[in-house]
Structure formats: C-alpha cells, structure tokens
C-alpha cells in the first residue's frame, strides 16, 4: 500500500504498528474478560455454579480487566488517528504499553493466585480486611497493578499532550482558547481538529486522574506498612471514584474521538472544529471530574453540597456529549451518502447505546432514584451499555476500518449482519441488567435467589447472539491482520 489513506500519511507506519498492537491486545483481553462475564451470568442463572470466593475473584478480574482492555483498545485506535496529524513517539507508546501490561500482570496475580476479590473498586479497608480470603500481599499486588496501569496511561497522555501542544505552540492554542473566548471571531485560522482537541482534553484529565490515584495509593501503602494506623474510609472512597469513574469516562471520550475520525469517511462530510465543539470539549475538562460524587449519594456523611455537585456534574457532562458529539454525528449521517459498512453500523449502534446508557445513568444520578437503585444491577446496566454499545462498539468499528484499510480488503454482507447481531445481542443482554435492577436485584452477589434467575438466563441467550456476531468479525479481522501489519510499512 503506497498511497496516503484516511489513517496512513506515509510517515506514521511505526505509530500504526503500536496502535495495532494496543487495539489487538485490548480486543483479545476484552474477549477473555467477556468470557469471565459470561461465567458470572451463568452462575447467576444457576446453570454453572461458581464457589463464592471464585465468583468474587472472577468478578474483580472481569471488572478491572475490562476497564483496562476497553481503555487500551480505545487508546490504540485514538493514537492511530492522532498520529496522522501530530508527531507521537512510538518509543514512549511502547514503553507505556509494557508498563500498562506489567500492571495487568499484577492484577492477574492478585486475583487468580492471591485470591483477591474486593471488586475493581477496592473500597478501603476491605482489601486489608478480607476475613482470611486473601492476604495482604494480594492487596498490595492489586494496588501495584493499578499503579502501573495508571503510569502507563499517564505516559500515553503526556505524549499526546506534548505532541498537540508542540504542533500548535502552546496549551491555549491546542485548546482553541483564543477562538473560544473571542466568540469565534479570532484564532479560527489555525484550529486544532476535533480529534486533537479530544487528545488535549483527555490528556489533561488523564493526568489529574492519575494524580488522584497516586494520592490514594500513598496512604494505602503507608497503612499496609504500619506507618499510618487508620485511613479515612470516606476520603479513600472519594479519591477512588475520582480516579476510577473519571478513567472510564475518559475511555468513552477517546472512543468518541474515533467517531470524529471515521464517520466523515463513511458519510463523505467533514467534521470541523466549530465554536460549539471548542466550548463543549473545554467544558468537559471540568465537567468530567464532577459526576463521580454520584457514587457517594448513599454515604450520608458526605457533605450535602458535594451530593448536589454530583447531580449537577452528572447532568452537566451529559449536555456537551449529547448536544455536540451525538447530535453532531447524527447531523453527519442525516440525509448523507452514508455507506453501510461494519464501521458505520457499529458507530450507529454506538451512538444509540451511548445515549441509551446515558439515560439510564442520568436517571440513576437523580438522588431519590439512586435511593432504590444504588448497588443494584441497574448500575451495571448503565455502564455496560456505555462500554459494550458505546466505547467498545466505536473502537471495534475503528479497528475493523483500519485493518481493512491497511490490508486493502473489502467487507462482506455477512460481516455487516454480524455487526447488527452484535447490536441485537448487546441490547438484549443489557436490558436484562436494567430490568433486574428495577426489581432490586443486587449487583456483586455470588448467589442469586431463585426469583432472580430469569434475568440472567434470558441475558445468556442474548450473549450467545452477541458472541456469534463477535466471532464472525474476529475471524474476518484475524485473516486480514498480517496484511494490515504489512500495510503499516507503506
């Protein structure tokens, strides 16, 4: 492949190699973690019973592994897209990848060998007070895992931020501040693209997130070493959710960046940085840090003002996402020449899922609703919708697009059908979470009452449909991967 393409610019072959590795590894881990998720649903359905200790180990690995996998998947795609217009360092991204995976290794050791089963939320002081289910070393291994994953992500963010800032000659220019604060009258001649804006925003919030995680880990390690007797449970919870909730939200923004990149290819329309886009993404820098407070609505000792911030932040962050990204995407599709292909189908499904999951989240971020939904399967429903029918759908669509583009391949009608099957299977699977949550079925329960078995049983049927779709797409991409790898050399 010699000609410049939508992603390949003749000089970014090295970056595309790293990006492919990120995406393929992220996708494979996503599939493996999905299998663990299936085991959990089979257990809930009473079809395949897991011992309770193994259920929580698997649940912890599934939760933290899925976050890491989906994030890596999006990071890879986003780096590929960004590398066409700014100079990223493949060396730094390889380093970030190995550090990230070192972290993943610690998490695997902590859960599968050490028996750690405190959930991805690692709510203090449970990791250190398991009642004999796991030892202190397993908790430390889990925290080390988080530390390395966070450092890997930080390196990735700093690389992006540096590249964008260098290209535009300053942070303010990389965030289009002159254009933004002049109401669009000045600074419009050298604006960052929407993808570059997303890069700067995610990098800034990514760095803040990692700092929050580091601030949490210091007392955690000090506590384990006996240097600090007690760590405040509410303080730990706040920092944990500032880190964890924000990280998973940034995953969605990275994946949405892929929509900015490839939807124009399929609709033959341009996505440009206009004033609303600049405003929305700059607002996101602050707004994305606020919704995490909704995880603490039932912690009545938390200051009431922070509960209100949680409501306003949760509602507020939805507005730029919906009004700019989702409405903008729909506008690109509306009465366009859109080509139906696997990536455009997955993006369309992702836009549907992101919005539907967002509705579930907004309802739950209303305090009286959260009173009866907190820690039920409703919560699981909304974030699985974000991921499966949002972030992962976008990343999968982009990976399929990139592999086909680099290997110069065409897709078949079967693969388009597989993409729709992915959507159908996902929707049914996710709806069962919402329905069971509405019926007060708890999340993070190893054992289900007989009355609760119906929901996971129906969900398993939809998982099988989803699996068929994924299998077809996976096999197709697998057959083209070698060609795509060669395609990165130009």
């Amino acid at each position: 492949m010699n000609a410049e393409t939508n992603t390949f610019n003749g000089n970014n072959g090295g970056m595309l190699k790293v990006s492919l590795v990120y995406m393929v590894v992220g996708f494979v881990v996503f599939l493996l973690m999905g299998l663990l998720g299936l085991l959990m649903r089979l257990n809930h359905a009473g079809i395949f019973i897991l011992p309770a200790d193994w259920f929580y180990r698997i649940m912890t690995l599934h939760g933290s592994g899925m976050v890491a996998a989906s994030l890596l998947f999006s990071m890879g795609g986003f780096a590929a897209v960004l590398s066409k217009s700014v100079k990223l360092s493949p060396r730094i991204l390889w380093t970030a990848f190995f550090i990230y995976f070192l972290g993943a290794g610690f998490v695997i050791i902590a859960t599968l060998i050490g028996g750690f089963g405190a959930g991805w939320t690692v709510l203090h002081p449970l990791p250190y007070q398991s009642g004999g289910a796991w030892g202190l070393w397993a908790a430390i291994a889990m925290y080390l895992g988080y530390l390395f994953v966070a450092v890997g992500f930080l390196l990735y963010c700093l690389n992006m931020l540096y590249a964008v800032v260098v290209k535009y000659g300053g942070l303010g220019k990389a965030l289009a501040w002159e254009y933004l604060f002049s109401g669009g009258r000045k600074g419009g001649d050298n604006l960052p693209s929407p993808v570059e804006l997303v890069a700067a925003v995610v990098a800034i919030d990514g760095a803040i997130t990692v700092v929050a995680g580091a601030i949490l880990l210091i007392p955690m390690f000090a506590n384990a070493a006996g240097l600090v007797e007690v760590v405040d449970a509410l303080f730990a919870k706040n920092l944990l959710f500032l880190f964890g909730h924000t990280l998973v939200n940034l995953n969605i923004y990275l994946a949405a960046g892929l929509v900015y990149a490839i939807l124009p290819v399929y609709t033959n329309r341009k996505w440009e940085t206009k004033w609303p886009v600049a405003l929305a993404l700059n607002l996101v820098i602050i707004l994305v840090l606020l919704p995490y407070f909704h995880h603490l609505y039932q912690d009545f000792s938390q200051n009431f003002f922070l509960h209100v911030v949680g409501v306003i932040g949760s509602y507020g962050v939805a507005i730029p996402a919906f009004v700019v990204t989702i409405i903008g995407s729909m506008a690109l599709i509306y009465r366009s020449e859109m080509r139906w292909a696997v990536p455009s189908v997955l993006i369309a499904l992702g836009l549907w899922g992101w919005t539907f999951g967002g509705m579930g989240a907004l309802l739950d971020s209303t305090i009286p609703v959260n009173q009866v939904m907190h820690n039920t399967q409703w919560v699981v429903g909304h974030f699985h919708t974000y991921w499966l029918m949002g972030a992962v759908a976008f990343s999968l669509g982009y990976m399929y697009h990139l592999i086909n583009e680099l290997s110069d391949s065409e897709e078949s009608g079967t693969s388009r059908m597989a993409a729709w099957l992915y959507g159908l299977g996902s929707a049914g699977f996710l709806l069962m979470f919402f329905l069971s949550g509405a019926n007060s079925v708890p999340r993070r329960y190893a054992t289900y009452l007989p009355d609760w078995h119906t929901y996971p049983t129906v969900a398993v049927v939809f998982v099988l449909i989803l699996t068929v779709g994924l299998l077809i797409l996976t096999l197709e991409m697998l057959g083209r991967l070698k060609g795509a790898w060669q395609g990165t050399s130009g």
């Binding site: 729909m330 509705m359 820690n375 007060s440």
Partner: protein, 180 residues
C-alpha cells in the same frame, strides 16, 4: 420511588430515542448538501442545550422533596419517634448499642431513625420490602454514622441486605426486621 416506574421511564425515553435514531439512519437515501443542514443543527443545538438545562433544573426541583437525607426526611415525616443504632460487621448486623444488642420493635407509620455505622469495612444497609423491593438504604461506614430516617407504611417482615461488597460471605449478610 418504584424501580419499575423508573424502568418504564427509561423504556419510553429509549423508544423515543430509537424512533429518532431510525429516522436519521433511514434518511440517508434522500441526500442534501451538509451546508443545508448545518444551520438547522446549530439552531437545534441551542434549543436542546436550553431545553436540557430546563429539564435538569425541573428534575432537581422535583427530587428535592424526596431527598433521603435526615433533614429532608424529618421535614416530610416529622421527628423520628424511635432511634435504632445499627452496626454492620463482617458478616452480620447488630441493632442497639454494641454492649446491649436489641431486637427492634417497629410500628407502622412511625418515623424511625437508623443510626448506621460499621465495625470493620464498608457495608450497604438496604431495607427490602416483604415483596422483595428496596424501600430505602444508606451506607454503613467505618468511622461514620449515617442517619437514615424512614416510616414503614406496611406491616410485615422486611429483609436487610448488605449491598456493598464486604468479603466472600457478603451475599449472606442478611437479617430481618418485623414491622407491626
């Protein structure tokens, strides 16, 4: 707040969204230049932004009276007539003071204050109705006491479940509360 009512709200919103989404997807054959669409999108964005802000303010206003926090519940239900200390332990609940546990007797229609804390890790103090639906909840946290005020409208046996992962036997951390 009933969980199924919230579910149906989600379904109605989801159906409306799906119809809009399908309409946009099916419009693709009827091609017009983007320059024709862009001004309409710009207007739509403004209208949506203001509309969503209004919806958000209305939602907060409607939610205000149903806040679960002690000051709000007292305002609606009146001062609690009974106070029950509750402590979560790995993996059981105790009512009353640590050195003087009691089996609480609760009457229908009487505001009760549960002062909920934890002796070890975080737990979730969640009250399920005799029909198996969550009626109210708060977190049981080490180092903090959360005051949950509630007035039971029906007699029967309520189940307390822990909904915050607290260790391997977390899902068997249940007890019962009889309301007469």
């Amino acid at each position: 707040m009933d969980g199924m009512l919230i579910f149906w709200i989600l379904i109605v919103l989801g159906v409306i969204w799906t119809v809009i989404w399908l309409k946009v997807l099916w419009s693709k054959g009827d091609v017009v230049p983007y320059t024709d669409i862009a001004p309409k999108v710009s207007r739509l964005r403004k209208q949506l932004t203001y509309s969503l802000m209004v919806v958000g303010i209305v939602a907060i206003a409607l939610a205000w009276q149903s806040m679960p926090y002690a000051g709000f519940r007292t305002g609606v239900l009146g001062e609690p007539q009974q106070t029950i200390p509750v402590t979560g332990h790995q993996w059981y609940w105790t009512f009353g003071e640590e050195n003087n546990p009691v089996a609480p007797e609760i009457a229908v229609g009487v505001p009760v204050a549960f002062d909920v804390t934890s002796a070890d890790v975080n737990h979730g103090f969640v009250i399920y109705s005799p029909e198996g639906r969550i009626v109210t909840q708060t977190q049981s946290m080490p180092g903090y006491t959360n005051r949950l005020i509630y007035s039971f409208s029906e007699s029967g046996t309520y189940t307390i479940r822990c909904l915050e992962l607290c260790g391997v036997p977390h899902d068997v951390m249940t007890t019962q509360l009889v309301v007469k």
